[in-house]
Symmetry: D2
Subunit: 454 residues, 4 copies
Amino acid sequence: MGLHEECGVLGIYDFDGSHVAGMLQTGLYALQHRGQVSCGIVTNDDGRLHQVKDNGLVSEVFTEKNTATLTGNIGVGHVRYSRADDLPENAQPLVSRYCKGSLTLAHNGSILNVKELREELENGGAIFQSTNDTEVIMHLIAIARTRVRSVEQAMLTVMKRIEGAYSMVLMSPRKLLGVRDPQGFRPLAIGKKGNSYILASESCVFKSLHAEFVRDVRPGEVVLIDRDGKLQSFTDFCGKTPSLCAFEYFYFARPDSMVDGQSVYQTRIHAGRLLAQQHPAEADVVVGVPESGPHFALGYSYESGIPYVEALIRNRYAGRVFSEESESRKEATLNIKLSVIESAVRDKRVVVVDDSVVSGTTAAAIVKMIRAAGAREVHLRIACPPFLFPCYFGTEIPPKKDLLGVKYTPAQIGKRLGADSIGFLPVEKLAELGLTKDKNCTACFTGEYPVQMN
Amino acid sequence: MGLHEECGVLGIYDFDGSHVAGMLQTGLYALQHRGQVSCGIVTNDDGRLHQVKDNGLVSEVFTEKNTATLTGNIGVGHVRYSRADDLPENAQPLVSRYCKGSLTLAHNGSILNVKELREELENGGAIFQSTNDTEVIMHLIAIARTRVRSVEQAMLTVMKRIEGAYSMVLMSPRKLLGVRDPQGFRPLAIGKKGNSYILASESCVFKSLHAEFVRDVRPGEVVLIDRDGKLQSFTDFCGKTPSLCAFEYFYFARPDSMVDGQSVYQTRIHAGRLLAQQHPAEADVVVGVPESGPHFALGYSYESGIPYVEALIRNRYAGRVFSEESESRKEATLNIKLSVIESAVRDKRVVVVDDSVVSGTTAAAIVKMIRAAGAREVHLRIACPPFLFPCYFGTEIPPKKDLLGVKYTPAQIGKRLGADSIGFLPVEKLAELGLTKDKNCTACFTGEYPVQMN
Amino acid sequence: MGLHEECGVLGIYDFDGSHVAGMLQTGLYALQHRGQVSCGIVTNDDGRLHQVKDNGLVSEVFTEKNTATLTGNIGVGHVRYSRADDLPENAQPLVSRYCKGSLTLAHNGSILNVKELREELENGGAIFQSTNDTEVIMHLIAIARTRVRSVEQAMLTVMKRIEGAYSMVLMSPRKLLGVRDPQGFRPLAIGKKGNSYILASESCVFKSLHAEFVRDVRPGEVVLIDRDGKLQSFTDFCGKTPSLCAFEYFYFARPDSMVDGQSVYQTRIHAGRLLAQQHPAEADVVVGVPESGPHFALGYSYESGIPYVEALIRNRYAGRVFSEESESRKEATLNIKLSVIESAVRDKRVVVVDDSVVSGTTAAAIVKMIRAAGAREVHLRIACPPFLFPCYFGTEIPPKKDLLGVKYTPAQIGKRLGADSIGFLPVEKLAELGLTKDKNCTACFTGEYPVQMN
Amino acid sequence: MGLHEECGVLGIYDFDGSHVAGMLQTGLYALQHRGQVSCGIVTNDDGRLHQVKDNGLVSEVFTEKNTATLTGNIGVGHVRYSRADDLPENAQPLVSRYCKGSLTLAHNGSILNVKELREELENGGAIFQSTNDTEVIMHLIAIARTRVRSVEQAMLTVMKRIEGAYSMVLMSPRKLLGVRDPQGFRPLAIGKKGNSYILASESCVFKSLHAEFVRDVRPGEVVLIDRDGKLQSFTDFCGKTPSLCAFEYFYFARPDSMVDGQSVYQTRIHAGRLLAQQHPAEADVVVGVPESGPHFALGYSYESGIPYVEALIRNRYAGRVFSEESESRKEATLNIKLSVIESAVRDKRVVVVDDSVVSGTTAAAIVKMIRAAGAREVHLRIACPPFLFPCYFGTEIPPKKDLLGVKYTPAQIGKRLGADSIGFLPVEKLAELGLTKDKNCTACFTGEYPVQMN
């Protein structure tokens, strides 16, 4: 609870005679957990673009009426999480017209050298209408495209210049492209339904569309679907050591997704088991903090034999209201969002499992609520190691000064949060979850960044 | 999944110098599960009424701006579930002016003899601006009040005339009343925070307000809080055999509520245990269908020792969109609302536990989804007995012709739903859950109506 | 500029096979000048009512979508001007269900004995959901209807009880009624298009519908259109001395309307001529203050020979914004609403004609603007006599203490407003305009009320 | 009635310590007649930009709440008329970030060589997010700025490249610029209030702000207000023969504006007089078609001695609804928009004066309405010569095939429109109005284009 990734991307090229807007909308529902601030769909009806983009949830932005205007058999969709300094003009997908017609871009990630690239472009006379990385990439593609023969070659040219994390979907007048950075920081997968191709941040999209999962886009790969309905692969940038963000498994991804071949749900169950081994507790019941806590808690229960209870209930009607709450109101509003079932914890020793601890405000409030409901003891178990380092690849981790793990020992943290005991997943156990240096970025826990940081 | 109760009611009389609007809003969040179509708050600022009422969720209807206009230390709130034939003018709380000033009424229930009462009133020259029972009650109170000395005496006079289910909150210029029908079909409870009194459909409200649960309003009781801050009780209609709706425990009430002294959560766990005893299964995992299924499933798991998995995930961003869907779209949209975690059920024999089966459309679709995810066997377990009889007390049970339990044997139902086996809670086990004839209405299962039906 | 009437009413019974909603909408556009705060349409589709009512202009409230729901061949419409203490629940038409089905009522006017009637009803046990006169009338009709054989007889029974000004349209399940109070304070006219009947506050409606003007409803008359397509007339209350509000001609009515046989436009031209005779001016140009001023100014120009110039321009995009402005902002916002064409008044002696003066704020600001534009002299001419007395029949004249005419002589008023001279239409000249005691109410100017005031 | 100009521009640099948003909003009200589809304001608070831009009228787009966010002492505003193919992303002012910070641009006009410039930019790798000329100009300025020392030098560099009509306001981090094309096709004027400078499309803005008119921006001039509060002038492109659009006087400009030293109102009066001389009529009354017709009609009346009547009334509540009506609905909706005062025209010979005739649909409908109101004869007088040639400078004249003047003689046009006679202002009389070749573009009437057209 408390961290945010920035986006989910989606692209569909339909070869079975349908308009893609309906499928894009369904697919964005399945990606909504990756961003709730704005969303958009751009479709391509034989070269003519149609778009609907706005602040709000998928269920709010798309209406029967505006969706009907989104004709065409190629399309790109996006859901966005917005940071404090974000502007409406940063809504995606970004559409522009360049020398070869239209170009539409949906992006998830964070470009490390964006400042330098932007300055260089500005010094060449470029203008920018947003502050997001996507527009910088768009400029680079347009410039590259004046020198090479195709948009895919332009993309490959641009990949020489941009560093960092990016999973992208691009739509040109007649092509759909999927792009993943050489280290594969962010997920991107390929699905197929009939003859139609789907590119999506997570595989959960495919099931909601009754489509087949084909495979993940490889780190560094550019995949191209052209109007002949074939998928081509460009692997010029493949071969580097991959670095998929480990936190996708703990928090970002939906539990029913497979990310780079690994089940999110099973990883969470497994993490819960490891936690039970490493930090056993003399307790009567195990509780998980929604949304992802319950899966870790189940693993803890399986391993420890302590019964799992569903004693923390999220009020599903409260979510939106308090999304931009101030830190100071957090505890107050938590009483609307979460409830404790007293009869499940009264006079019990309770293990509470959460995915992570950032500032600790929420965790402390939950400990307090459970005690108020009559628990005799509260033992906090955190499914990932403490955050110790900033992320430069799109995960919004607070500055070091606000990270509990930097300032305090685990025991001190437990005390501050009011828990009788606390236990984090030991950093060395990440490998047992399959989250290893040769595959994953764990820099926020370890400080070992997969790229040379200046 | 599939049944709906009509309302949640709330009333607060603040004696600690505050405006009640904020507390009412928080309280309505906690009652939102009882009705999502419209909601409203009416406050009383020294005799002057202020109101905000509209279609939509609490989070949509109340804004910082309009809540600021709701000044006053007495107030009434309401959330409403709306039937197909319902009209905007039926939104509650209902406000009217009568011989003694203003009267505000929030009502949950269903008056059996409403048609006769309305005809009688119309024949006397009355006009009606809505079609709901509340306006009929309002008329009766106004007429009674011309003959008796107080609003509470008027209410008691009216109670001689109205039959059926009603839990109500009334606000007169200087009083707040709570009323529960003599059989107590619908819940109503009393809470206290500091010197202030709270009346609410469910006790979960009190926790969200950091208030104390005092007691349930007794069946037939009228409680009155006047401006001296004292609570008076009128028990003229108490003493009948109570008949609290048993289905409150299975479906309507929030699991963290205590209803008439009994924990909803524990009742659900217990029902799951009984189900496991009565209908054991050779299976590998137990799954619950959200929202209430998981608690029954946990009970089933505890009793049977079969591991509980959280393999059905509700998309919390999808809820509103499809609330008014046609029957025919239900299966299609279920794929957006619910996802199966394949890795948790693949090659497994799965027990699926749901609260009830009405038309079976949803259950059949879920069985299909779980099979599609690779389950080897699917065993349905239903936490309450089959519905066999209509409800006249506010629960919207479909007509007999649409009730599976009327037309088919359990085995036939299981087959139609595509399950390898099926098991319902035996009707004779209701007593073991504490749901007995001398306390509860179970007419929808048994046909034994607690009042003489004509 | 500054006074407001409260309403426009409209009713259509179509016998040519059409839905009336489109015609009602067009007709309300033509009545919009009589009320801009809220509007509504209720249609009757073979007994089933449909309604759209909301705050806002006709162009805002009615959409293609909601108008499509308004099926049926009988309908009633209303535009409302709202006073400060007015409530959303007072929106009209008012719909209720009573012993004989539905009843829909749209009302323009002011009932003098409403307080007594309401008390009497309340003492009999009636409840009220609004504060407007319409609901009181509705109650009385419903009660009367229990004793007489038809809604028209009920209406006639009620007319014995209610005193004051009312022009109304009523719709019962199969009938449309038009009602005008015995003194005919407010206008109401009958139109016909093909076989269909139209009842409307003003005749300008008929032209916008390409319908024929048939005649005015007579003071005291009840007209009834039943499903045989015939118009019946009930004249029980006809025969009193009529008292049509004289101010309809000066301000309320649209210039293209004929009200009780007299052209509004020609009355205004005539008033301008009389003003020129009574208060000539040595001047170079004549200017009118929009909206109605220009017609008086033309008359002044015709009579005096002084050229008419259109030197005051209303910004037609500014209207709504400042409709609820505070007195203090009036002058400031007037600069957005009105502009002076400098080249038309520079170095000129200017006659400025306005319909009336209430508080004088606007007039003073206009004099100032015209001087600022370079006028050498500004001579104010006011087309009606000074307001000296309150109105009890629906015109919102400010309290005596705010009426310039009560506190000051005309010369003093001219001075306060900054004019070089001022002239009001002499009260004794009203008769020359055809506004005579045996036909019109001029009480606001003369204090001679057409009914005995208590 | 029927032609549209595309925009109004506004810029304010306040040196008296105020935020400019309020003044910009008031100023845009005064420019609203130049564009009703979208509007926007961008302010500059010490380098930090704030913006509000949306579809809708000034009164709809700007609220107390969003205007409060528009802090800063420099700002730019825009109102836009949108053509059929126009897109939301074309809303202005356009904001971008370039090598020297932010740049904000509001533009009125039409660049002739925009296609070539855009292709050249695209071939250099530029991307475009809109289809309007403004973005092309923005690119050119950004590129130029990489080579010259200031934004004003960049603007002057760009002026060498762009051809056609443009009046613009630019805002850089610390400067406000006004730019007018070398031929001055579109107006732009300078005002001053206290120490603050105002740049606006029309002088009517200054009066609404109680500001002084200083002078018009000269054709080809760039004016610069920097943070020292001084106005500098760059005249590199001055000296060409000016070509202010003559149609500004007939239709676009507000009558209370002075455009390049000439009063719009007086020009219209004068045109009416000339029309009376050239095309006298045996008639009883003269009527003008709103909005601009009445002023021509007054001139006609002054010259001919035929009395002016205000017999055509515009319904001021109808304007917005039908703004995007289809040609086929025009006549039908005209009955809502316009009414004839029967008593002013019945049995009369009527001269009807309008500003211009494009397709003739509206004029024919008006003739019909006036006849239906009982006029004996209808004589059309058109205040400008027939349109015979397309406009390339921003006036949206229909294609030749839809221009009545191209296909028919005046007599034939009169017949088609149902008039008893017709008369256009003779093209050779434009000079008498002061609209001469050495000052004005009259190409739409004469075909003599002020620039070499390819």
